[in-house]
């Protein structure tokens, strides 16, 4: 079955707005910036079965920037892992959808993440596990650009290359913003592509990581590296808050900010092109 990925992105963005707007606050910027990557993975590339979420040999996605949990939940709900109504429980006491991803609470989540840097090493461990089991799975991971300031990211990068984990395809959500300001101001990670190449990874630099065709092409290209002996990093140059003008304009202020239900409704009209 093939999906209209542009429409899927709109659906995911609207559901992110709905659940964060319902709650009144959330990590909106870094959720909206990763939507295209999630749509391509869950609606096109990954070998998964929402009706059998623990299927052996399935491809896995580990969202190391765990604060993008709401974006992953919106994606999983749209893909049929659970009822969309559950999205409204985001961050409410007793919910199965906590702010940061939790493999023990949420159907379809493959790893508990949130303490930055750790999820990426976990993904490397998962990729090693898949290699040992020889099950042919592809392991995908998403890290943040601010997260890339964590030393553990580079420990994991070194290990993945040294162990030739070419079943690992990672993304950097390079939206250039973090909590205290721009990444360049706070503690610059540039030149990013050169760093990953120097660590022994295939690197694909995507000019616009919020352009669905460019992301699709990048993942297809990355999959060709399956027997290259190298893991692949896809650098997605994205816009934090992408899809909702006033959130985009907040810049680093959109990392974790208040969103009213009215603002969410207006944003949904904007995303749907109804304004």
């Amino acid at each position: 079955m093939s999906y209209d990925l542009k429409e899927v992105c709109k659906d995911i963005r609207c559901d992110i707005m709905t659940c964060i707007g319902h709650l009144g606050v959330g990590h909106i910027g870094g959720c909206l910036s990763v939507v295209e990557a999630l749509a391509v993975l869950y609606f096109k590339e990954m070998n998964i079965d929402p009706k059998n979420p623990k299927m052996e040999g399935r491809d896995r996605f580990i969202c190391s920037k765990g604060h993008a949990g709401p974006a992953v939940y919106a994606t999983l709900a749209n893909r049929g892992y659970f009822d969309k109504k559950e999205l409204l429980t985001l961050n409410q006491g007793g919910t199965n959808l906590p702010s940061h991803c939790d493999m023990n609470r949420t159907v379809g989540i493959d790893m508990t993440t949130g303490s930055l840097g750790q999820g990426f090493s976990c993904a490397v461990g998962v990729a090693l596990g898949s290699k040992l089991e020889k099950d042919g799975a592809t392991i995908y991971a998403m890290i943040g650009d601010g997260e890339s300031q964590e030393g553990q990211i580079w420990e994991a990068a070194m290990f993945a290359a040294a162990k030739k984990l070419d079943n690992l395809i990672a993304f950097t959500d390079y939206n250039k913003q973090q909590i205290d300001g721009t990444v360049a101001e706070v503690n610059d990670i540039a030149p990013l592509a050169e760093k990953w190449a120097a660590f022994g990874w295939n690197v694909i630099d995507v000019e616009d990581g919020n352009d669905i065709e460019q992301v699709e092409k990048a993942v297809e290209h990355a999959k060709l590296g399956r027997d290259s002996g190298k893991p692949t990093m896809i650098i997605l140059n994205t816009l934090k808050g992408c899809g909702v003008k006033w959130i985009e304009d907040l810049g680093s202020g959109n990392h974790n900010c208040p969103v009213s239900e009215e603002q969410a409704e207006a944003a949904i009209r904007e995303i749907r092109g109804e304004d």
Binding site: I62, D102, M103, N104, D110, M111, T112, G114, S115, G117, Q118, G119, F120, S121, C122, A123, V124, G125, V126, A127, L128, G129, S130, L132, E133, G151, Q152, E155, A156, M158, F159, A162, K163
Partner: protein
């Protein structure tokens, strides 16, 4: 036999039986005695290099794929250095990872203060749900290894690397959650774990010559502590001494005090008095930290005087 050799031999047996048992080192395979496993089990034994944080989270990832990882480093680097990775990647995420810290407390000897954890039990004990085990001798370690491997959850193992005097007899039956009463007595209870257990046995013999009948309870599992045994023994004898190769804050004494919080029973501690370690050989380090047989006897007498 050295404890690390027993540890590695037990691991080899477990790896032979189950290809999902894997070992991860952080450039201390030689020190931990596990380097030899690499040749025999190339698909079950990995070196992460000097990257303990990465090692801990990789193990969590492997665990999510059905593997049963054992990770190793010196105690400070297996605990305080990777506290967050242990807490979040492993314990919070409910991953089945065994964390082995070698050369606890003064056992780090010539590596000195930087490598000498006086706080590792305290660090790990405050993480919800983790199990903490410290073997006394090779007999207990050998009995414990398959049990630890089968236990589906995170365990911190505090492992002395070199040879230790045997306290337990062959045929010893091990229960992970049950403290072992090594010697029954009526005058006081001495709770002890790990390398100092043999010293407590020696001290108890000397105390016996002076007419003091000490009960010795080996608390091999410091968390969850066997509250039932601890409380019953303390009630029976009416006074307590704890003996530990660890800071008296956060370790065995703290665990025993928590278990006895509702009892009106005095507790005296022989342990490291809230200080860092320093370089030296064991006899010197025992003297400067007070972990001597003489001090254990003095502590026992103090406990008796408070009865």
């Amino acid at each position: 036999m050295e404890m690390r050799a027993v540890y590695a031999a037990c691991l080899a047996e477990l790896m032979e039986k189950d290809k999902h048992v894997v070992v991860l080192d952080a450039d201390l395979g030689k020190a931990s005695g596990t380097l030899g496993l690499r040749a025999k089990f190339p698909e079950q034994s990995f070196d992460c290099g000097v990257a303990e944080q990465d090692m801990a989270s990789i193990a969590a990832g492997l665990s999510s794929y059905g593997f049963k990882p054992w990770i190793e480093s010196f105690t400070p680097f297996a605990t305080r250095r990777i506290c967050d990775q242990v807490a979040i990647s492993i314990v919070y995420a409910k991953r089945n990872v065994k964390i082995v810290g070698t050369d606890p407390g003064i056992a780090a000897e010539l590596n000195g203060g930087t490598h000498m954890s006086m706080e590792d039990i305290g660090v790990m004990r405050s993480i919800p749900g983790i199990v903490i085990f410290e073997p006394v001798d090779e007999v207990q370690l050998r009995a414990a290894m398959p049990v630890l491997n089968d236990y589906d959850g995170p365990v911190y193992v505090r492992l002395f690397r070199k040879e230790l005097p045997k306290v337990f007899e062959e045929g010893y039956k091990f229960d992970l959650f049950k403290a072992d009463t090594i010697k029954e007595g009526k005058d006081l209870t001495i709770f002890v774990s790990g390398m100092l257990t043999a010293d407590v046995v020696t001290a108890a013999k000397q105390l016996a010559e002076e007419g003091v009948d000490a009960e010795i309870v080996n608390v091999h599992t410091i968390k969850p502590i066997d509250r039932e045994t601890v409380v019953a023994s303390a009630r029976k004898t009416g006074t307590v001494l704890t003996v530990e190769n660890h800071n008296v804050i956060g370790g065995l004494q703290s665990a025993v005090l928590e278990a006895l919080a509702e009892e009106k029973i005095p507790v005296v501690a022989v342990g490291v008095q809230d200080r860092f370690g320093e370089v030296g050989k064991l006899p010197y380090l025992r003297e400067v930290t007070g972990l001597t047989v003489e001090n254990i006897i003095a502590g026992a007498k103090k406990a008796l005087s408070l009865k």
